[in-house]
Amino acid sequence: MNQTIQSAKSEKTATGMISLIQIELIKIRRSHIFWILLIPAVMMWIPSALNANVNFQMDDIGIMPEHNFFIQGFMGMAWFMIPAALIICTVLLNQTERTNKGFLKMLSLPVNTGKLCLAKFLVLLLLMAVQMMFTIIFYYAGALLASRLENYNFVLGFPYVAGGAAKIYLAIIPMAALFWMLAVLIQTPVFSAGICLASVVPSVLMVNTRLWPFYPMDYPFYMLMTEYGKQAEHIFSTEIQWMPMLPVAGAVTVLGLLVACVRFGKAETR
């Protein structure tokens, strides 16, 4: 009896979360965010495919042309576009119900604000997964086009490509928690977006310093650079240094989410 109540309870919380996520997805249905996620993924592979012949001039660092094509293409995504898309999605999720005070109505419902905040964060991760998927799909389109143009097989196996993309995706999560916390804490949306964008720009420099594990914005780029280091000689370290990174990443994620969930909706209900 007790067990059934407990299982019913846990089922209720689980469905509660899922239905909250579903509601969030309905809210952003007409936001056109789909295009914001799709367009960069398409646009970035077009110049890569058209200039695919530069991949044959990499003999001095000993990288195969197909690996160079994959890494150079993903580089633009990992260092700028994916973090930037993340920032745009935080603005979307935070702003979508502000017109006509929809957010206040949401807060007046008997829904736990912390859970609401977590649901929005999970939708954020879902949107990023969608963009990652687009990037992989259009990588294959770009690689096929390049193969056709240069008469050389640029296409890499799916497990390798998906593995690389998955590593980048997992590396986004601490940054996502941090950006989500800033978006919740700072009331002016442009302010939080501006701070986040400004923090993304120097990540290329930070990844080359010893302080990189303490700067979550460079994790996705770091993941790609170690992959580069494995394929090419003397470019970057070949192994991922997990040690200072994992605890820092975990702490940033947990703390960011905790602060966001506690502070969510507080400014509006004051």
Partner: protein, 240 residues
Amino acid sequence: MIFALELKKLRRTGFIPIFLGGGLTAAAVPLINTAVRTETFSGLPEEPFPILMDANWGLMAQLTILLVVCGCCLIYHTEYADRGALKMNTLPVCQTSLFFGKFSVTLLLTLLALSLQTASLIFSGIHWFPDKSLNLWEMIQDMGFEIIMLLPTLTLMLFTASLFQSMWLSLGTGVILTFLGSMIQEDHLILSLIPFAAPYRMLHAVSPADISSCILACIIQTFLFGIMEIIYLHTRRIFT
């Protein structure tokens, strides 16, 4: 009058702090970079300013472009957020002058951000290259050139911001254009002068024969985007 009105509207929106903060962030780039790697730069044979610009301008330009993107989004978001734009439409104010009022305010504050960066470059030149003579006039010319290179980006971004009521769309478009602009190489002269790519050009890196055509191209583009906005304002009811 509209200029004063626009400034007044922006008083509590954080518009001026965002430009001050963005300008200071970009100004910190040459200071940190030169302080950390003084030996690398002081050994180079060139003049101080070309060295500093080559080492830092890429990052500074990107920060400035993002600053302009954020500023343009904010200046129109304040109108759209609580349907202020609708109220503005009912007032006896010309819609076009509203756009150009916003344009002048944004341009003024971009000038402020760029002068902060110029000051920081001059300071780095004086402080870390003491035994080289500084050509201040060249530096000021270089920054004036950057302002002109930024004009099309600013106008196009303001036009985009006026198009979309939801901020994530204007911000998203701006960020995607920033991303695409940063990928364009400078070896195609015409391609490198489009908005979001032009601000990466530097006066000392452009060959003297091309300077006037660069400036002309940017001014023509600015007028073009201004005319696009006027056409949009007059044909708006067809789209919505």
